[in-house]
Structures are given as C-alpha cells and as structure tokens.
Symmetry: C3
Subunit: 268 residues, 3 copies
C-alpha cells in the first residue's frame, strides 16, 4: 500500500475525471439533490438507487456506495442493509455517514447493524464519531457538540476496531486508519451554514474510494479536494446561498495542479 | 404577555442568533432542502427528524417543531402525530402548515387530527385557512384561489377555536391570535415563483416560536423578518433562480437594526 | 390535427403563461425541488401529489401528470398506478419518464405496467428508450451508454406500439409520434452536469401537453423551449451550480418572440 503524499490528491482527481466512478447513494431526502450535484460537478456519476431489490444488485456493480442515515425511511433501511451486504460481499468500497446517531434510537440501532457489515470508511462529525465509538449521546440534533480534538481517540479506536478509515469533520479534518492520521486544514465556516455540506463530502469520499486506491489515500484526497473547493467557493460567496452555488462551480473547475504542495495536510 | 411593537422583531432576531433554536422539521420532500437552508441562514439549527420512534423523543427536546403536510408519506404521518403529541405534552411550541388541504383527502383528515392536538401556530395560504376553518374545498393544487381578505374571518374563527395563532400568507400577510391582528406589508411576488417560499416561512415561524416569547409576537416577527429578506433578495435577483439564492444570503446578512421603525406592520 | 411549425412553440409558450396548466408530479426525491421550480419559472403550476388515495383524484382534475421513476418508494408506486389509471380514464395527458429502466428490476417491472396504461408521452435517454422498446439492459446507472442515433428505431417502434409520442434526449433531441419525427438542436452539455436536467424536461413536456394541443406539437415545443433556455443559461454560467440557477432565470425570462424562425428544428 502506497502511503499518502501531498501529490496523491492531484493524481486521484485526474483519475476520477477520466474514469467517472459510479457512486450509488442511499441518502437523506434533504441533501439528495446537492449530493448528486456535488458528484456530477466533480466528475463522478451518481446513481441514487435506494429501493429494496434494486439496492443490492446496484451495489455489486457500482464503483462505490454511500449510506447516509439522515432520514432513513423504512424502505430505505431495508435497502441500506441490502446494499451494504452486497457491497461487502462483492468487494465494493462503501462509506457510512451516521448522521445524528446517539440519542435517536432508530438510526443508532441501524448504524450499529451497518458497522457490523464492515464499512470501508466512516465519516461523521465529532459527536457522531464519539457516539459510535463510545455509546455517547451524540450531538444537538445534527450538530456536533464536541470538538474534533475530543473525538480523535474515539476515531482511532473505531478505525482499529473496524479495520476501516474514519474521517472526522471540523475546522481541521482528521482522517485515520488506526495507524496513520492525517490532519487537513482547509474548508470554510460557510460549509456548516448550508445543509448537506458534510453529507456531500461523504459521497465525494465514496467517489474517491471507488478509484481502487487505498481507502486512506482516497479519503485524504477527497477531504482535501472538497474542502479546498469550499475555501475557494467562500471567496465568491455573499452568504450561504451563493456559497452553495459556488461550491458546485468550484468542484467542477478545480484543477489537479491546484492540489500540489500548497495543500495543508500533515501526517502522523 | 408583552404586546408586540415594531421593536420586537429586532430583539427577537438578536435572541435567535444568540441561542440558535433547534427546529425539528417534519416536512415535504420538495422543500426539505430550502427549509433547512433558510433556518441555517437565519441562525437557527434544523433537525429534519421525521421517523416514527424518533419524532416523539426529538419533539420533547427541540426548541420547536414544524409539521408540514406537503407530501406526507405513510411513515411521516405516523411520525407527525407522534411529534405533535409529544410537543403538546412537553410544552414545545409547534407549527402546522396544512399544504393543499381541502379536496385532497389524506392530508385533510390528517390536518384535522393534528388540529385536535392543538398547534401553537397554523400557517397557510387563504384557501388552506378557509378549508380548515369552514370545510371549504381548498385551492388549485397548492395555490390559493382565495384572497387574504376572504380568509380573515376564517383566520379569526380558527384562532379563537384553537386558542392558536393563525398566519395567512399573501401580498399583505395577516397574523391573528383571535384578539389582536397584525398586517405585514413586506414580501415580493418572486416568493410565489419558487417552491418552498411559504413552506420555509413555516419553519422560520417555528424558530421564533422556539425563543420562548409569546407566539403572536414570535409569528409577527418571523413573518416581518422573512418577508423583508425576500424584499431585499428581489433587488438582487434576475429571476426566480437567483432569487432563491439571494433569499438565503439576505436571511444571513439581515441585521436587527434593519427591523426597526421602517417595518410596515399595522396592529388592530 | 395541426402539424407542427417553427411558429408553434411561441404560441404555446404564450398560452402556457396565460393558462398556467396544473401539472401533477409524481417524481423522485432527488429532483422534486428543481422540477417544481422549473415549472413555476416557466409559468406552470406544480402540484407534487404522490400519495395513494390522493394521486387518482388529483389526476382527474390536473391539466397533466408526470410520472418519473427515479426513486419510486413503495407508496409512490401505488400512487403512480393510481394516477396513471385515473389520467387515462379522465383523458388527462400524462408523461412517463422511465429513469434507469433496464437492469434495475423494480422500476423496470413498474415501467412496463405503466406502459400498459397508455402514456401520452414517454421521455428518456437513449439507453432507457432502448431498454423499454427492446428489453435491453439500460445504461450505466442513470446515464445513457447509447447515442440518440442508436435509439431512433426503438423510439419509432415504441411510439407506433403505444400510439404515443416518444422523446429521446441527447445533444440533438429526437421527438417522434411514429409517423413524424422532429430533431431539435438546442441545449448544452451543462444540462447533463446538474441532476434533474432531464427530469425537469419531463415535467415541462407535461405542462405543454396540458395545453390541449396535439402531444407531438406540445412535446416539440417543450423540448425546443427548455433546451433553448438551457443554451441561454450556459452563457450566464461559470459552472454547473450557477447554470442551475440561470436555467430557472432563463425559463422565466424567455420571451415567445425568441421562439421564432431561429429555432433549430428539422422535421421528417
């Protein structure tokens, strides 16, 4: 396995644009639109297939799968287990985004069932990662009440226990596979003032995981690329509405050459 | 109870930005995204929790709850009754937005069941308020075929009967608690040319109702603030697409100082 | 029946703005928002009514109905059959958009059941039309892997067999009723880089079909008008995000006078 370097995100963005990975998304109704648009803008191909009896077959042929627990309606919960199981058995990488787990019982039970199937990557905010790793109560609604620093030990433990990559979103994003940890210092506060800012990142991680590279490298590249686009979008924005528009434009216009030495990634 | 003055909206926007009320939304799939984004832009915290067994617990801890009947899927209908019941018993203010009630049978039956639980505020267009109060046939699809003036008596009767605040949306918005009536002369026609223009207002009313002020003051402040932002957004817009973007930017940039004496609110 | 001329789109846009046809949409959660917004921008009235026991009554009174198979949840599948049946028996024109039919079993079975009810218009990408007409495997996720040229014979056969109009989307759009074929050379590649670019067109076709003109004329006018607006929007856009915003602005600002002789429509 190649260890990540600051050059890798540029190579991986090139590869993503060339191969257009097919990313199956089972996600919440609030952010489905912006999630599909973020994937399209970056160069990936979204397939929002979340029905029982379709989710499994799709997961066997997709490049990667995203399972996001934001508003898991009953039929979607069935489809999520079907998709995760099919992905695991077919070797399709899949990403779990455990939105608001903790005190909300339906999604918390579902998240633990899905963890048992073995996600490739888990992405969440600090409260969500703490809730998954330690059984904590979670945040306030969908917002984190914990800081990234508070969740680092939990992320390491979760990554170890699952044999997965764990990404914790915050002012500085942390990505760990239990052995290596990357800290990525891009992004912008406006990303927290539009709904789906974090959820769309989960889909972008899936797109990179679908390139066949190591999931740690894929996740670091996805987070660095997406948060750099957000940083650029903030320059164009007059508020959260125009920021959401600019984020899509910037994901589309981002050049691999921008993802070189100036990326703020530290590894430990 | 403090009676509303034109100063109150400024104070309440300050309080909203400081305390960031957690607004649980059970709403339709068409406008879920813009609803969450409007709340975030203004400074509130949306939680789109609409599952049975989660909706009740969330309603007991949320600052306020929105129940919008735009596309009530079967599992959401169960969750709406659960949330309304939990909100009522826990003292959480909750807003009912009876989208397209009248001739459509499923939501009309549901709306009457929910009215029985005692909403804090009912927000609708004139046809919807007439349909709720008098058993009228409702509008044309989701559009009102009646004028605000036609629905004022119905709004008063509904407010009296329920002990609730009723807000009727139109060129001049009317808010009444059955004793006092406010007429608010802001807004813009573009608000009717984007989907969710009215639905997002329902969520904003919930955010203000979650501040702990009197529901009449809260509703007047919410309507005045939201429609003033719409008026400002129309200045930036080249059509309904850019209006939707500008509305979010303006909700975020609106300063309490703009909500002073120049607000066009008349009380009777 | 009047045969289409390049003048007809201008007349029909005038009529659409005057009469504001009520378009019932049963569509997927990813694109519901942009679909409703496209209809509103153009001047039509969306009604997103997709519940069993409501979908049928609505279809009897709506100007037209759209059935889009992007994410057909169980309750929506029931409602789709109810709406299509009611539309057919009431003489309401209805449009079928068979998103991603082919290898995905649930929607493929549903699409064939709905074809049996007799849609007025079928709109799809080349792979979807091939899958419906010949039992092919469909495209890659929601993307076409076939070219419009490859699907022309299938479109003709499908139109003949159903007695319906078939519209195939691509760089040059093809519309046929089995006897006449129109090729429409407008649009822009950015339309494929936003989710819902094709789905919203299905709704716009329904709006035109609701004007009471011949479905072939209606579909040609809808495709020409929508793709011309997209072409104009691309001039304003810096990427797929701003394109989506500009598309709504351009649908609203499009003047019938722009739909004259310069339209690139060829008939055979």
């Amino acid at each position: 396995l190649r260890s990540p370097t600051t050059a890798a995100p540029a190579e991986l963005l090139d590869r993503l644009r060339e191969t257009s990975p097919l990313v199956q998304c089972l996600t919440n109704t609030v952010v489905a639109n912006v999630t599909a648009n973020a994937l399209l803008a970056l160069g990936a191909a979204p397939a929002m297939v979340d029905l029982p009896d379709e989710a499994g077959p799709m997961a066997r042929t997709a490049s990667a799968v995203l399972v996001n627990l934001g508003t898991p309606a009953p039929h979607q919960r069935t489809a999520m287990q079907e998709a995760a199981g099919a992905a695991a058995s077919a070797g399709t990488p899949w990403v779990l985004d455990p939105v608001a787990v903790g005190s909300l019982p339906v999604r918390t039970t579902l998240a633990h069932e899905l963890l048992g199937i073995g996600p490739t990557v888990v992405r969440g905010n600090p409260s969500e990662i703490l809730a998954l790793a330690t059984g904590g109560a979670g945040g306030r609604g969908v917002d984190s009440t914990a800081r990234v620093e508070d969740a680092e030990d939990a992320a390491l433990a979760l990554a170890h226990g699952l044999g997965a990559v764990v990404a914790v979103s915050g002012p500085v994003d942390v990505v760990t596979d239990g052995r290596r940890t990357a800290r990525i210092g891009h992004g912008h506060e406006l990303l927290t003032q539009m709904t789906g800012g974090g959820c769309a990142l989960g889909a972008v991680i899936a797109a990179y995981a679908g390139l066949g590279t190591h999931p740690f490298d894929a996740t670091v590249a996805a987070v660095a690329t997406y948060t750099l686009a957000a940083e650029q979008a903030a320059e164009d924005a007059g508020g959260p509405g125009s920021f959401g528009v600019a984020l899509l434009d910037r994901l589309a216009s981002l050049e691999p050459a921008m993802l070189g030495d100036q990326l703020r990634i530290t590894l430990s």
